[in-house]
């Protein structure tokens, strides 16, 4: 990793990090707040009766394995909700895809790589920055969730010892996605190509997981999704599978290894 490039990358992303962290912090606050409203108010009780009556399919309140009527369940829902996924992907995909292919297309990569920095070091710096950015963004979500749970007096419903594990598993999932994005970024000359491949991969992956959770016949598709290996409800219940962490780490290592081999060997096309 090149320290100067790493720090500069973080500096360049600080405004984006602030916005994403605030958004995720608010999102984190929202889940315990909704849970408290459903549990502690007559309106919430009527809503629960409606769900229990079978008027709506049970999956409606248990989207992606979450559950609106328990605190761990609502927090889990927050961690797999499309809004959360979209916000975290700003860094995990948006930043990483542009980090090499975008800079190459603009011509700024040429200026940086004219310096004595190996491509592997440059890649390492960008991957390091991705890890820090994703880690901090998800930390903001966790902090918002804990703060909100404390404010509504629900913190005792949560096994706090599982929270770091939830953070780690979520970070690992998005770092795996980020490493796929970065691998695409070093493999294509144009930003659109890298972005298309990565978005396609992420969307199909998310679609498999959600489809499997809503439609039992599609369950066999879930293991092919990276999102399948983040089960916040199970982690918060203390029944999380350590294999999920291992698999996400393995995927990341494989993709990083591939990128470290490919990037130095590639011809860097002249900027368009």
């Amino acid at each position: 990793m090149d320290r100067v490039l790493f720090i500069r990358t973080l500096q360049a992303q600080r405004s984006k990090l602030l916005i994403v962290a605030v958004a995720l912090g608010i999102w984190g606050v929202l889940m315990p707040l909704i849970y408290a409203q459903l549990i502690d108010t007559p309106l919430g009780a009527r809503f629960k009766e409606m769900i229990d009556s079978g008027l709506f399919p049970a999956q409606f309140a248990q989207f992606g394995g979450g559950n609106l009527f328990t605190l761990p369940g609502s927090i889990a829902l927050g961690f797999i909700h499309p809004i959360f996924v979209a916000i975290v992907c700003v860094f995990a995909i948006g930043f990483t895809v542009a980090a090499v292919a975008g800079e190459r297309q603009r011509g700024t990569l040429e200026v940086v790589l004219a310096r004595p920095i190996s491509r592997r070091k440059a890649y390492g710096s960008l991957l390091g920055a991705t890890i820090v950015l994703v880690g901090l963004a998800i930390l903001a979500m966790v902090a918002g969730t804990l703060a909100s749970s404390a404010v509504f007096g629900k913190l005792d419903e949560l096994d706090l010892g599982q929270v770091p594990l939830l953070w780690l598993n979520t970070v690992l999932l998005y770092i795996a996605l980020g490493s796929v994005a970065l691998a695409a970024s070093v493999s294509f000359d144009r930003l659109a190509q890298a972005l298309g491949i990565t978005l396609g991969f992420a969307l199909v992956s998310y679609f498999f997981q959600i489809l499997g959770s809503l439609w039992p016949d599609a369950e066999p598709l879930q293991p092919f999704s990276l999102f399948h290996y983040l089960d916040p409800a199970a982690i918060l219940d203390g029944t999380g599978d350590p294999f999920d962490l291992v698999l996400l780490a393995l995927v990341t290592l494989l993709v990083v290894g591939w990128a470290l081999v490919v990037f130095p060997r590639r011809d860097l096309a002249a900027p368009s």
Binding site: D2, G107, T108, E110, V111, A114, P116, L268
Partner: protein
């Protein structure tokens, strides 16, 4: 003396994997069997029109591209294995440089210099020469004009005092005054023993600042000579106005294309001028003009075929490849 740059049979093909022969389907040979040697301490011009392979050559020297065949050494180091060591001793100005628009000029120069782990020894002098004041450098790069961006490009390439400067179209976007300032900077660098590899299609610039020049055409080297030698071998245009009879120039060594009209003699003069001067000695000359040879003529001679083709099919651009 070690060559600052030495290439042996350097070849770059695009659009294939594996050792397909040149000319196979989809293969573009941007650079073919290029062997040149740039001496330490010289200003070396690398000439060719757009698409002739100049930028490909530079990208090979800096390790952005990997050669399909042949090898290149920069400052005695192999470009394929010693890229980091090479780049720590080289300054590079890309053609049409792109800069980080969100940074201010000073922060950008600091950042790019820190990546070298060397102090910006020449920055102040360069900024002064190129009239980039401290106030200007504190402005965001997005507010810079094209000329100011080019000045930033020159400063970032030379601020750390590199042993070898590789400059791709360095005066692009600079006004005549700044071009002159840039030529002064080059002269100073040369005086201090630095080597400059300058790629350009501005012939007057190369003629003015370079010691030697390589001319490249369709990725192949077509000439590599001292500028002086190249110009000496070119024909000068002579125009002579007379008040008496025309001197006999037929058979005078180096003289050709003689035209005599009423009181006016025109001809071409090549090589040593002394036989010509001896032949006109005593003639009733009212006015004599010998136009110096220009690099442009040499260049156009090497590209005559392309020009013929372009004339034959309007709209077709000369060159191809990278």
């Amino acid at each position: 003396m070690t060559a600052a740059i030495a290439t042996e049979g350097l070849t770059k093909r695009y659009g294939h994997r594996g050792p397909h022969p040149p000319g196979a389907g989809g293969v573009i040979e941007a650079l073919t069997d290029l062997s040149i040697e740039v001496r330490e301490g010289e200003v070396f011009g690398f000439l060719g029109p757009n698409g002739s392979g100049k930028t490909t050559m530079i990208r090979l020297l800096l390790g952005y591209l990997h050669p399909s065949a042949g090898r290149a050494r920069v400052l005695g180091l192999d470009t394929e294995h010693d890229g980091l060591a090479i780049r720590s001793r080289v300054g590079y100005l890309p053609g049409g440089i792109a800069l980080y628009d969100t940074m201010n000029g000073l922060d950008l120069l600091d950042y790019l210099c820190r990546l070298y782990r060397r102090p910006p020894a020449r920055r102040a002098a360069l900024a002064d020469r190129l009239e980039m004041s401290a106030a200007t450098l504190r402005r965001p790069v997005r507010d810079y004009s094209r000329g100011m961006r080019q000045k930033m490009g020159v400063i970032q390439a030379l601020q750390h005092d590199p042993e070898l400067a590789i400059l791709d179209e360095p005066t692009e976007g600079l006004d005549p005054l700044m071009q002159r300032a840039f030529y002064d900077i080059l002269a100073e660098l040369k005086h201090e023993g630095r080597t400059i590899f300058l790629s350009s299609h501005i012939l007057s610039e190369v003629e003015r600042v370079c010691d030697r020049v390589a001319i490249i055409r369709h990725g192949r080297l077509v000439a590599l000579q001292e500028i002086g030698e190249l110009l000496d071998s070119r024909k000068r245009h002579v125009e002579m106005r007379l008040t008496g009879p025309a001197p006999s120039l037929a058979g005078v060594p180096g003289v050709s294309g003689i035209h005599v009209t009423d009181g006016l003699v025109t001809c071409q003069l090549e090589g040593d001028v002394r036989p010509f001067l001896a032949a006109i000695d005593g003639a009733a000359i009212r006015d004599l003009t010998i136009e110096p040879a220009h690099l442009e003529e040499a260049f156009l001679e090497y590209y005559a075929e392309d020009l013929d083709l372009a004339d034959a099919s309007p709209g077709r651009a000369a060159g191809g490849g990278a």
